[in-house]
């Protein structure tokens, strides 16, 4: 159902009437169908499931999520460890 991996679009082109792209996962590239994310441009990230981009991966949201979760640690440090279960 769910194995989806983020990858960066390195190029886009058309093949057999479909919008396709070469996506780089970190030294590994695969041809990926971009028909479901037609507005995707080179340099953007997509989530790839079985050779299809099923959604764009918002780098902004990704960073925000991490920041949000980092804040939880900061609050923890301010407030102190009381209430935490070892």
């Amino acid at each position: 159902m769910c194995l989806g991996v983020p990858g960066k679009v390195k190029e886009t082109y058309e093949a057999n009437g479909l919008k396709m792209g070469k996506v780089d996962f970190g030294g590994v590239t695969r041809e990926v169908c971009l028909e479901y994310v037609p507005e995707t441009e080179v340099g953007q990230y997509v989530i790839v499931h079985v050779g299809f981009a099923i959604s764009q991966m918002s780098e902004e949201e990704a960073e925000e999520t991490l920041d949000l979760l980092r804040q939880i640690i900061d609050i923890e440090e301010e407030v102190g460890p009381e209430g935490g279960v070892a």
Binding site: L3, G7, G27, V50
Partner: protein, 356 residues
Amino acid sequence: MSEKNNQVTIHGLVCPRPLTHDDIVVLGHGSGGKMTQDLIIRTFYPPLENPALMRGDDAAVVELPQSGLLAISTDAHIVAPLFFPGGDIGRLAVAGTVNDLAVMGAQPLWLTASFILEEGLPIFILEKVLESMKATAHEAGVDVIAGDTKVAERGKADGIFITTSGIGVIPAGREVGGAKAEPGDAVLLSGPVGEHGIAVLAARGELEFEADVISDVAPLNGLIETMFRACPSIHVLRDPTRGGVATTLNEIARQSEVSIKIDEKTIPTTLPVMAACEMLGFDPFYVANEGKVVAIVPAEYTDAVLKTMRAHPLGKQAVRIGEVTAEPAGRVLMKTAIGGTRVVDVLAGEMLPRIC
């Protein structure tokens, strides 16, 4: 050409010009007659050349350089594709057998190699494979002293199958074995995991991906000798091939009746191997290697052995990945990247790409 008939003369009659068959392998090459002799002399002897082999007798005769225990191993090699980034079936055959001997603490001396060639195999492919075997044998300091060739009908052997045997001598005082791990020992690994498996998978093309990955196939006896100089009492050595480091550690844990505890954060992986595994749903710890060694050594030798390994080209990223404890015997446990625990089991069957 009749399938049943492998007489050379029939070929000569059928074809418009006398064929010497020096461009592809035909059934006649395996018949034991002149064609076989020609093939051996022209194609096999030059790259593998050494006195014992060239005598051309039914068996090679050699003298042991020293008395002692012999290590003997045998291996069959089938790989598709025959050539992949970083190596080929020839290099795999030589390195694999050398490594089987080296992890027993032996100094590899001689190999035998028997070839099953598929009818129709271009001879230049065979030549390339033999050149590669020559280079690898040279790297390892071994000779191929005996060999054999047979030809299988088209479709009955995937290009080339190679079976090798290896003989090595174990210097006195070395006692390495899968049952020798002891609680308290350190578990060391010579470098990043999964390179061979991913390189071959990418080269096969069935899953249609490109990877910046080169097989790590290499003979390890040089590296291992330096490790013995740093620690004469190494307990266990093993090269983690199919099934990956996970499977190798399980074998050792079972043989030695100990537990092995691994820290996930210390396992080296290169980014492309990680990326390929993420894409396919593989765990790099289970992916094949062909140029890595796992060493289990008394804890006090950890730094010395690591230092030695890192000074060798094949051990530059050597690292301590865990330790041996007494319980739970026979099991390999892992502290996960986030601090949880899981059991590392053996691979059930072939690793298949998953969708979930």
